[in-house]
Symmetry: C2
């Protein structure tokens, strides 16, 4: 069974996802050195026993999205990769198709796996060359084999593997050994330890000229299919193709245990929390606050941009992976937050990641210095707005602060808004949306 998703509509995120046409443009313009077709096979049939979880790890979810979708997205961002084949166990086909539809993945072909890793990879490789009915497809020149559970591989490393594979026939990522490797006796005693410097861990991605990996699988034995672990080894043994080994970065790491899911979530959260855009509405007081926030939040390692609105040229902020801080001065309505929210929803910005909007309400009236003045129906309206937004993967929080003429007090309030904003953006806690905090 094969299902294609190539003609699905998906939002264009400039700088992140290129359309097919722009891929071709880049090739023609020579901006990209890969001028031959490249495809990816992602074996995702594993059962994930080592995580200690019931769900195989590639389907475990963080920030509302399964791990495998992060990996697919990584490849979709690479303009010179034409297609992605995901190989899943038969019983996960529906789940996989659902993921592809929900997150608008495209150019993804789903095929079902075999009983072992090598059989699954071969199914994926074969699907690139022929349709389900045996009709021939246009084969890629190079096929990259990667794991669904290594979501953080970078484009420049994929390029290295691809170019080396094209030149040498096969290439694979290696990493230094983290532990000493030892051989054990049958009785469970130390036999000998290997000299660490002479050995490497073989990792993914690996790249092959299509015909090399295809022939290696056609020629290899049942025992290879059953017990083998190393594609590079098959290429050497059955095609005489000696793989070029390339030292990869730590980001190649494989999500293996439950703790790795926490680490992956933390990496994604950190990536999503690097920048915020403060929308001021243009008033002098809001701009002053925005500039102060920019200084404080920069000191907390967040890149902050200040703009007056999201119209015209400023609308391009919507397509970046930014969080939003909407400043309102003495305005008792939430319409400005509503506008930012609608703009984000229209731009489909929260499809892949939750987006944070923080409403900062600046109270400049004279009569209350404690900052605890209730604001009519604001908290209730805020909660209602946030509850709706959360359904669309947008997390809305509020912070209220009182304008003080006393410089020290004012500085302290701004500092608190900065700290709370950074914490809200980093934690992305769905349970706290709709709250109006006090700075």
């Amino acid at each position: 069974m094969q299902e294609e998703t190539g003609d699905m509509a998906r939002p264009v995120e400039p700088g992140h996802f290129s359309t097919c046409e722009s891929r071709l443009d880049k090739h023609i313009a020579g901006l990209c050195s890969v001028d031959f077709p490249v495809a990816v096979v992602l074996p995702a049939g594993g059962s994930g026993e080592r995580t200690g979880l019931l769900t195989p790890k590639q389907f475990c979810t963080f920030l509302n999205r399964p791990l495998i979708s992060y990996t697919i997205q990584t490849f979709e961002r690479v303009p010179w990769i034409q297609s992605i084949v995901v190989v899943v166990a038969k019983e996960r086909l529906d789940l996989m198709m659902d993921i592809i539809h929900r997150f608008h993945h495209r150019n993804v072909l789903v095929v079902h796996g075999g009983s072992t890793r090598h059989r699954s990879i071969f199914n994926g490789v074969r699907a690139l060359g022929e349709g389900e009915d045996g009709t021939a497809r246009v084969k890629p020149k190079v096929v990259i084999i990667h794991d669904a559970v290594r979501p953080f591989v970078e484009e420049d490393f994929l390029l290295k593997i691809t170019m080396a594979a094209k030149e040498q026939g096969a290439a694979g990522a290696i990493r230094p050994l983290v532990s000493t490797v030892i051989a054990t006796t049958l009785e469970g005693y130390l036999d000998h330890s290997l000299e660490r410097t002479k050995y490497r861990a073989s990792e993914m991605p690996q790249g092959f000229i299509y015909d090399v990996i295809y022939q290696a699988y056609q020629r290899c034995s049942e025992s290879d299919f059953e017990f083998g672990t190393e594609c590079l080894h098959l290429a050497l043994q059955y095609c005489g193709t000696n793989a070029k080994l390339i030292e990869g970065p730590p980001t190649l790491w494989k999500v293996t245990y439950k703790r790795d899911l926490a680490a992956a979530e933390s990496i994604v959260k950190e990536t999503l929390s690097q920048s915020a855009c403060v929308v001021t509405g243009g008033s002098a007081q809001a701009t002053e606050l925005a500039n102060a926030l920019q200084r404080s939040m920069s000191a907390l390692d967040m890149e902050v941009d200040v703009i007056s609105d999201l119209i015209g040229d400023n609308a391009k902020s919507l397509s970046k992976e930014w969080n939003f801080i909407q400043v309102s001065v003495n305005s008792s309505c939430l319409s400005e937050v509503g506008k930012t929210l609608s703009a984000l929803e229209e731009a489909d910005r929260a499809l892949l990641h939750p987006v944070v909007i923080i409403w900062v309400y600046l109270n400049v009236s004279e009569n209350d210095l404690s900052g605890n003045e209730p604001m009519g129906g604001e908290p209730a309206a805020m909660m209602e707005l946030a509850t709706g937004a959360k359904l669309g993967n947008i997390l809305v929080y509020g912070i209220q602060l009182h304008h003080s003429k006393e410089t020290t007090l004012w500085g302290r309030s701004v500092e608190r808004v900065a700290q709370m904003s950074c914490a809200l953006i980093r934690d992305r806690s769905p349970a706290l949306t709709g709250q109006l905090l006090q700075a």
Copy 2:
């Protein structure tokens, strides 16, 4: 240089830290099968290049505490371990002594490291047998060697290693290989891949009869000191002691990269977020709310205990690794939270981990159903109390809810309190302390 901390005062945390006397008691009572002296050497001289951080990873901090303190605590919790030697680089001696004082670690001897891992371990082993001035100490029977960056090793596994070391002379933890190991040619091509099933990763802890490891180091060559990586190998080569290898759990894992710190933090946060104690003050309405919270929070995987106060027998809740939820009904003062806070401070509960107190304020007045009624000076008083508490590593948050006679509305409010409480306890965000949230 050696500094001892054996006679430092430290708080007794029943169930976690035993005093010296209770250790002896256990031996005498035969509750523990280890009836011989055991010591630990923790080499902590590494530079931590692989984390990509400036601070060596063993000194990196999460939840206000450096990683090495978590590892030391793990060994302090084991009643049959007499002493811990930490080996650090000369330039980190002061930092290490400061950590020991700040977190009240005891029975810890700090010695400075050598230029390589083996020289550092030997320094640690030697310090167990003789004082700085060359005077003899009472040597332990078995010495466990562990890494400062593996904080989650469990007592039962330490016991296995210790008993096997006593019987065989040496024992070490092994784990299955996560990646295929390959040998590379000088030119960077694949030479051959190892058959995964025949090899294991050698991990820590390892255990040795003191005289075995001491003699192995005395007899080994300068080249071993310089380039060797495997203590088990030295025991075999220089003392003819063949190590028993024991398959260890995934928790032996070593914090190597920056992402591992995030994983470690996540594991500790999860451990700290497993249980909460709701203190009701005894009123019927508070008890009703507490029972409802108990049901909702249990469904969110949190163990919840309901008690009326922290006096008498209930005071034992203070010594458990629990978080606290203090329910107040119509009371406009924070004194109940203040009492719980003082009790926790007196019990020194926040010495090693931040503790969370959530003040749940239940408003049962009839006149406002929106739940947004301001409560006099509460928010300001709350912020002041929380700011003070934070200095002592106690995180105070508030949640206000309105009592509704309408069952659905009430159920929804309780559900929100439960969700927010779980999120606040899990995230432990210092920036959000002192806030009074609305349920």
